[in-house]
Symmetry: D3
Subunit: 246 residues, 6 copies
Amino acid sequence: MLELAHAAWPDVAAHLRERPGVAILPFGALEQHGPHLPLSTDTLQADAVARRLAERLDAVLLPAVAFGNTWSNEALPGTVSLGADTVAAVCGDLAASLERGGFAALVVVNGDFGNRLPLQTAAEASAVRGGIPVLVLDYPGLTEIGDRVKETPWAAPGLCHADEIETSMVLAIAPALVHRDRMVADYPELPADFGLRQMALAPLSATGVFGDPRPATPEKGERIIAHVVDESERIVRRVLSALGLS
Amino acid sequence: MLELAHAAWPDVAAHLRERPGVAILPFGALEQHGPHLPLSTDTLQADAVARRLAERLDAVLLPAVAFGNTWSNEALPGTVSLGADTVAAVCGDLAASLERGGFAALVVVNGDFGNRLPLQTAAEASAVRGGIPVLVLDYPGLTEIGDRVKETPWAAPGLCHADEIETSMVLAIAPALVHRDRMVADYPELPADFGLRQMALAPLSATGVFGDPRPATPEKGERIIAHVVDESERIVRRVLSALGLS
Amino acid sequence: MLELAHAAWPDVAAHLRERPGVAILPFGALEQHGPHLPLSTDTLQADAVARRLAERLDAVLLPAVAFGNTWSNEALPGTVSLGADTVAAVCGDLAASLERGGFAALVVVNGDFGNRLPLQTAAEASAVRGGIPVLVLDYPGLTEIGDRVKETPWAAPGLCHADEIETSMVLAIAPALVHRDRMVADYPELPADFGLRQMALAPLSATGVFGDPRPATPEKGERIIAHVVDESERIVRRVLSALGLS
Amino acid sequence: MLELAHAAWPDVAAHLRERPGVAILPFGALEQHGPHLPLSTDTLQADAVARRLAERLDAVLLPAVAFGNTWSNEALPGTVSLGADTVAAVCGDLAASLERGGFAALVVVNGDFGNRLPLQTAAEASAVRGGIPVLVLDYPGLTEIGDRVKETPWAAPGLCHADEIETSMVLAIAPALVHRDRMVADYPELPADFGLRQMALAPLSATGVFGDPRPATPEKGERIIAHVVDESERIVRRVLSALGLS
Amino acid sequence: MLELAHAAWPDVAAHLRERPGVAILPFGALEQHGPHLPLSTDTLQADAVARRLAERLDAVLLPAVAFGNTWSNEALPGTVSLGADTVAAVCGDLAASLERGGFAALVVVNGDFGNRLPLQTAAEASAVRGGIPVLVLDYPGLTEIGDRVKETPWAAPGLCHADEIETSMVLAIAPALVHRDRMVADYPELPADFGLRQMALAPLSATGVFGDPRPATPEKGERIIAHVVDESERIVRRVLSALGLS
Amino acid sequence: MLELAHAAWPDVAAHLRERPGVAILPFGALEQHGPHLPLSTDTLQADAVARRLAERLDAVLLPAVAFGNTWSNEALPGTVSLGADTVAAVCGDLAASLERGGFAALVVVNGDFGNRLPLQTAAEASAVRGGIPVLVLDYPGLTEIGDRVKETPWAAPGLCHADEIETSMVLAIAPALVHRDRMVADYPELPADFGLRQMALAPLSATGVFGDPRPATPEKGERIIAHVVDESERIVRRVLSALGLS
């Protein structure tokens, strides 16, 4: 694995001489995650998954993008958002630059719900113009492993925000950033059309929590991350194999 | 100082209740810096300066943007660039989001030459639309302290790339990332119109070095950073005072 | 139900005086659907679903958009595509115009896979700017009813193109446009990374068929459409109720 | 003639093997046309003209675009408008896609005044980039035949909206959509600068009518359409001949 | 009349205190006009007309825009063109700035065929957003007076390029810039579809002339200009009166 | 020197046959310059410098762009501004058109502070896409010669607006446009952060003057212009030589 932020250019040249040139980009966000989790939660998680994935694949790890499309959480302080167009532009520019630099594929490990549309839009645009393949991963297997690991109910199907899952993951990655004393359970009454249309998230919960973070443990977090990395690896290997890059 | 990446939303709320809301954004790049310095050199430096500045001002530190407008160094591997428009969009979006979130000013600590135009463009656009003031700092005082600290000549007036200055700064910030054994001096013959028009940088130097990094020391780096932080603080305080924010 | 294409302006005025103003837009495509189905297959289907939905809800039916984002099928003749940005612009413009015209919500019945990203992008943009809610439906319940109705296997999970399902639907809507004599089964060997990343569809199948259309019947088509309309109605009613529009 | 909406891809392949590939696109609008005419009046008319033209030329008929740039009629309910930029994008995208698909020319039969500028803009853009020729027709000969057929005066020179001409045309195309009992004459007093600068139309007439639709007959409509088709055919043949496409 | 280029700001303030604030903008081009006329022909003509118009109306004359959308003449040297989008942006920006500065209307005297679409597009955009009225004049009455004054035939109906008309106009405005010794007649055989679709002009004529400039005289030019100014004045007065600005 | 506005196309062809094709573009503005100087001050100055430069280099002089990015002076009447994006588009379009027309380089003589960012942005964009070199000159040597010539103090370091320098320059170029009787000295108290961030200029001075224009003379103006032209020539020759164009 080559961590690009720490490498010098001859290291990259050497890596690319012997490997197909697969870059892995953690795309995070700066977004409220309740009173107990850091605003960088999405970035920490995406970076952790991307880092392990890069190790497994002996790929190139890009530094994380620390901001995402988080308009839906702007109602709570500290959320600082890019527009969806800008997220797509960042991803598209990096893919094109990597391509010019001799890379063969870009894998994006996305850590934020709001980035899904713009990242897929950038991936499609690269495909349309015949650019390098851009593969966007949204924590494959998360719901599955969440169902196995969680002791508390989901606030809504597929909704995972500042809850037992996310808290466990941050406890596994950066425990010093978790305020255990501030953990509260919050199961806000969601509008009947939640999940059916685009709506802001933060106004729905006074705490910014959607679930019960209290039973979170680093062990659970480790299990979750390991499973997501396993699933991510499986998918990326399948894609790279199909592309003749492995 | 509040490090936003590590804070939770109630910390931000508390900070903003008692302070004017000054956000500091390190804007870096992923760019070749010779065989001995990491590709994240600009990000490391901008982050270090921004962090100290935030401490001095008891301001809010944003996570660094790790990519910049580095087309001029794409000729050497590992340089991964955003377009100039995208750099402007990132800065403009963050300024607007901070404004919606109750912040009163954004200070950008820019670590990359190619970001200057787009960051100033974003700052002007914020001024034109009556948004919060965006102040872009390009290492004020760097040439001055460089002249005092350097033992080796500049490759060109104002040109500071993988040389004694930058190497000293990284030695002070992240010494483990510096390959001392790879240091070479390179004073490429520059075209007669160097600095007079926009041109790519990397093709001019086979090593990516512009100067002599060998006499670099962490002590020199510390002196340089300290001076840049002093000058930055002086400028920001003057601006905040004029804006009634201090 | 008010079919806008056939109505005159006083009819609309009367409708809006007594109802909340819900507009339903079928968004189709002009895209190859094998040798036996018309290029307007997606538009016919979206229009049929939208029409019944409008009847159930006593809502306003917009005329169908007959083109979509179908770059992935351009390899076969007759596919005529809009760019993704243009699809988003069409949807966004119509939502904004409907809003200025006194409508309270826009429901998009999407008939083409390639429209999903840009339509959701437009829906999000409307939410971000505080515009009327835009609800994008992608044939809810289709896989479920497909599993119940189909006698032939899927070419791939979730892949529904010129197969038994789509052929049945067109047989139910516009049987005269189906070339029964041209029906062929085609289960192309899909690349191992099919469905994992953005890729063109048409190059994968020489016929443009993905499955076996031969056992298709209008009765199956009717069952499929009815189920999708039921599910669509259920979802829209839930949203309208949550919005206080029913 | 090949109606693309009804054709399957092998039909298009066969057509293009033996003919030069001329596509005809009716570009309509959803726009108020008085109390007696349907909102789709412009689309119906453009489609009728385009269809006959395609028959005469044995060309390919595209499905109609049912929305146009109708901001100037938004004051009356049911008018749903695209922006001018979006109209240009739709036309430009279709031209480029047709070009990639092997077509040699695009003829646009425009049914709405507001589409003129953006369609011509798209046509010019195609010419500038060396794309296929895009020929925009705005009902050639309409004023001429109107002068011959009309029994009632024009509301203003060149102004043809929900009057005897348009009503006759819809009576010839889709008589069931005309509310004969709602026909009223309306000769609003137009501002002195009418026709001299861009201005909204709908606010000038309480009924949305500009003229007297009452003497309209399907026979008149047929004569009008026939003449416009004749003139259109003459022009297109001249262009195709000059392009070596006939 | 106030010539803005020569005025100082208090002169403008005084003018606006007592008059409605009508600005007149000559929009020209830098475009080949045969071997005998200067590349600035369109700008000279637009400026001459705009200047007299401003005098008649006691309005404010803006400095001329000396470049236009002249892609169709790029085949001959010295033609330097803006894109159509840029022409629209220039006009739109000036209208918006004039509006912020207290002006009530903008009259554009357009001197170049290629500017028509983008200027009208900008005028419409101003109308759509409720901005100040933008009136675009394309030499009203030119064909009429041309028919009366010309001794030589038109190269094509409505085609007026480096011919007797344009040469007469420049002889009246800036005789020193006309090369009498280089005048040649050129009636190129035009393609059968000339004027029916967007096409480049310059490739059609080896000389860049379309007609016979030889009988041109300054007296004819004066008559032409005077008539165009008369017609322009009549139109503008009608518009200003309708707007309540006179 | 070839003045493009006055040349006909064969003159350009002849010029380009024997010379490398260097175009010089004066980029001005329409901006308040105190009660005594014309709004076209920046354009007059840029044109004068560009003209002499073109003579020295036997280059091609383009007509001046008479509008610039002057939002910062909109508070005083008569300032009419383009947006920064539009200034960049004008410059970028002209560079690309010149390139298509066989020119080898574009030199922009910029007369307005607000144009700096967008012109450099356009120059960089041309470099990134591999277009012809675009060299932007901002009156090189102005401060130097100002220090030598001025008898009155600067209103702020580097601030030169309607003061002794600018007034002297206009006295040398177009003395009839200077209102000697309106000259006033104005040394407004500038905010403490003046020059440190983007801010509007005009609101800072009631007169629009920043300095003391009264000791201005045409002789001083001539010295200033001559020095700026000398410095400009020196720089352009260096660039052209490096590019192999001299």
